[in-house]
């Protein structure tokens, strides 16, 4: 059944619970929302642990995450499939994370983190990034001091600001404020030069086995692709409608975020993505002593071109 074509027919009354708050706003603003051929119920659930918990509780059909959660989900016995992937056109120039350094830590370049205290949260994307940075710098764990801290909210910028750690990955959402506040004290935001841009939609496999749901998911992925396009082409509406109105940011902060996001890349072909995902799996499996997964199995390639085609307006 895994290879059977995705059905097209959506029975009336089909309902999807979607944990993708950003796209909800985009679809609302672009007026796509009414056109969805199924009932959508929005859930404000995103991020790894929460979506996995919600999948388990059968409270969610589609989750929006980065590259790590699908791997963890598989490892904990939850069969999930990625149904859409989005990247950034210039991933190195528009990273999601930067390595923030503490004021007065005198870390000038990435290599200076050797021997310093680095915030580390195993199991989160930020944690994986730290591991990949270490690997890139050819450093062993023992070459730095990993300080375990979960990256919730502003925990990392706080830890940096109060000099409890010397370096920590901080999200683009925090970068502007952080440098504004602490650059004068010598704090920096260093690019790590790695790709950290995957954004996936993933679903529980059992949802795909329900033909109505599978068809609805396909319809959603299409809308998702169009929404990405809309966001790209309507930056002003997006800043006002999402960042300012929905998230309560100042307009300039919203603009900064749009800038730093760069342009999206919704590929028609997942080969590169699968390859990079495999690298991540290998690194984590080694690190956490887990079985190596085949990245291939994480993706439902029937959906490979669905989002890309929609994005390109086909």
């Amino acid at each position: 059944a895994d290879n059977a074509p995705i059905p097209d027919k959506i029975a009336p009354g089909t309902k999807l619970v979607v944990g993708d708050p950003q796209i909800r706003v985009a679809l609302t603003l672009s007026g796509e929302l009414q056109k969805l051929p199924f009932t959508v119920e929005w859930a404000n659930i995103s991020g790894g642990p929460q979506t996995i918990e919600a999948f388990r509780a059968k409270a969610l059909d589609i989750g929006s995450v980065a590259d790590i959660p699908p791997i963890h989900a598989q490892w904990t016995g939850l069969d999930v499939k990625i149904v859409a992937a989005k990247f950034r056109l210039d991933p190195i120039g528009h990273p999601i994370y930067v390595i923030g350094t503490a004021p007065g830590s005198r870390i000038e370049k990435l290599a200076d983190i050797k021997g310093r205290k680095i915030a580390f949260s195993p199991g989160q994307a930020q944690g994986a990034l730290v591991l990949r940075v270490l690997k890139k710098l050819n450093l062993k764990h023992s070459d730095v001091q990993l300080v375990e801290l979960p990256s919730v909210g502003d925990a990392y910028t706080n830890a940096l600001a109060s000099k409890l750690v010397d370096a920590a990955p901080i999200a683009e959402a925090n970068k502007q404020r952080y440098t504004q506040n602490y650059a004068r004290d010598g704090a920096k935001a260093l690019p790590h030069g790695l790709r950290d841009d995957p954004a996936y939609l993933y679903v529980v496999k059992s949802s795909l086995q329900d033909p109505d749901k599978a068809a609805a998911i396909q319809a959603y992925v299409k809308a998702w692709g169009r929404a990405a396009k809309w966001v790209e082409t309507h930056p002003d509406e997006w800043v006002k409608g999402y960042y300012v109105k929905d998230q309560g940011l100042k307009e300039d902060a919203g603009r900064f975020l749009i800038e730093s996001n760069g342009s999206p890349d919704v590929p028609l072909d997942w080969n590169g993505a699968i390859e990079r995902q495999q690298e991540t799996i290998d690194l984590l499996a080694d690190e956490l002593k887990k079985p190596v997964l085949k990245a291939e199995t994480l993706f439902d390639r029937r959906f490979e071109s669905v989002a890309g085609a929609a994005y390109q307006g086909e």
């Binding site: 404000n44 919600a54 409270a59 909210g153 925990a155 600001a161 404020r177 998230q247 309560g248």
Partner: protein, 300 residues
């Protein structure tokens, strides 16, 4: 018999050979006269001393002053703890936006219903466990277990059983608030003076009457103390509850502000929390004073 010389001996002075001379000592009596009304009683030596009007505001006011001073002198880094005026202006903006009221209202409704069900469940389970041994054996252990388990860790289970909607949020708040109310009610019941139970037995009260007239009033002070905890927890629970599938509410606001590192919004939310906590606690204390007019205690 009635016309014996009883009525004549009107005051103490009449029956004494020599009336006390002190009223005629000018200095002494003057001193007494001056002291007047105030000197007529001993000062209370023990106990907390007299009530100062609005005294309860002193502590919070002092905190506010320290905070302002610290911010004004730069002693408090405003990147970590925004200045009160920054917070106030942020608050003003958010109010003009309508966002603060909206979020507060959502949260208030959640807290209210959560607390409501928490009270209902806590009080009734407390009564069940307090009044029947079997009830206690069945109820008390599981409640202690529930109480010992971190709320955050319970959320996955609650999501499983009750979905991710409003119902689950209210249920979680109820679960968090009900524990102190249960414990206090239960303890209040069990601490009922045995003398009153004896009395109830000799008055041949039915179980319902016993409950209503003896045990519940006896447990009321404890219940009200539990309510003080419960009310605060109903606010605190928002932070936990509004992490899950919420798009508004105070807890959502604080969580969102944390992801964007909006210090002044975080501090504003904390200030709102403080205000809510203080005022709801004050309200419960007021209720306590009104509800227990029969007590004569140190606090009075």
């Amino acid at each position: 018999m009635a016309d014996l010389s009883i009525a004549t001996a009107r005051t103490g002075t009449g029956s004494r050979a020599k009336p006390a001379g002190w009223l005629r000592l000018p200095s002494r009596s003057a001193a007494l006269a001056e002291a007047g009304e105030t000197s007529r009683r001993r000062k209370r030596k023990l106990g907390p001393g007299p009530v100062i009007p609005y005294g309860a505001a002193i502590g919070p006011a002092l905190l506010l002053i320290l905070w302002s001073l610290g911010s004004a002198t730069g002693f408090i880094d405003d990147r970590i703890l925004s200045a009160p005026w920054t917070v106030a202006s942020t608050g003003w903006e958010l109010i003009q936006d309508g966002r603060l009221q909206e979020n507060l209202w959502t949260s208030f409704v959640r807290s209210f219903w959560g607390l409501f069900w928490g009270i209902v469940a806590g009080a009734s389970l407390g009564v069940i466990a307090g009044l029947s041994r079997i009830g206690e054996y069945l109820v008390d252990g599981p409640i202690q277990i529930k109480r010992a388990i971190p709320a955050l860790a319970l959320i996955p289970l609650l999501m499983l059983w009750f979905g991710i909607g409003e119902g689950m949020k209210i249920l979680t708040i109820a679960l968090i608030t009900f524990a102190p109310i249960y414990i206090q009610t239960h303890d209040g019941l069990r601490s009922t003076d045995a003398r009153f139970i004896e009395l109830a037995e000799t008055l041949d009260l039915s179980n319902a009457q016993f409950l209503r007239h003896v045990v519940l009033p006896a447990a009321l002070p404890g219940f009200l103390l539990g309510l003080r905890f419960g009310v605060t927890y109903s606010w605190l629970a928002l932070v936990v509850v509004e992490q899950v599938n919420a798009t508004s509410g105070l807890g959502y606001m604080i969580n969102l502000a944390r992801t964007y590192g909006q210090t002044e919004v975080i501090i504003l939310c904390l200030a709102v929390y403080a205000a809510l906590g203080l005022s709801s606690d004050w309200l419960v204390r007021l209720i306590t004073r009104k509800a227990l007019p029969w007590r004569k205690i140190l606090a009075d």
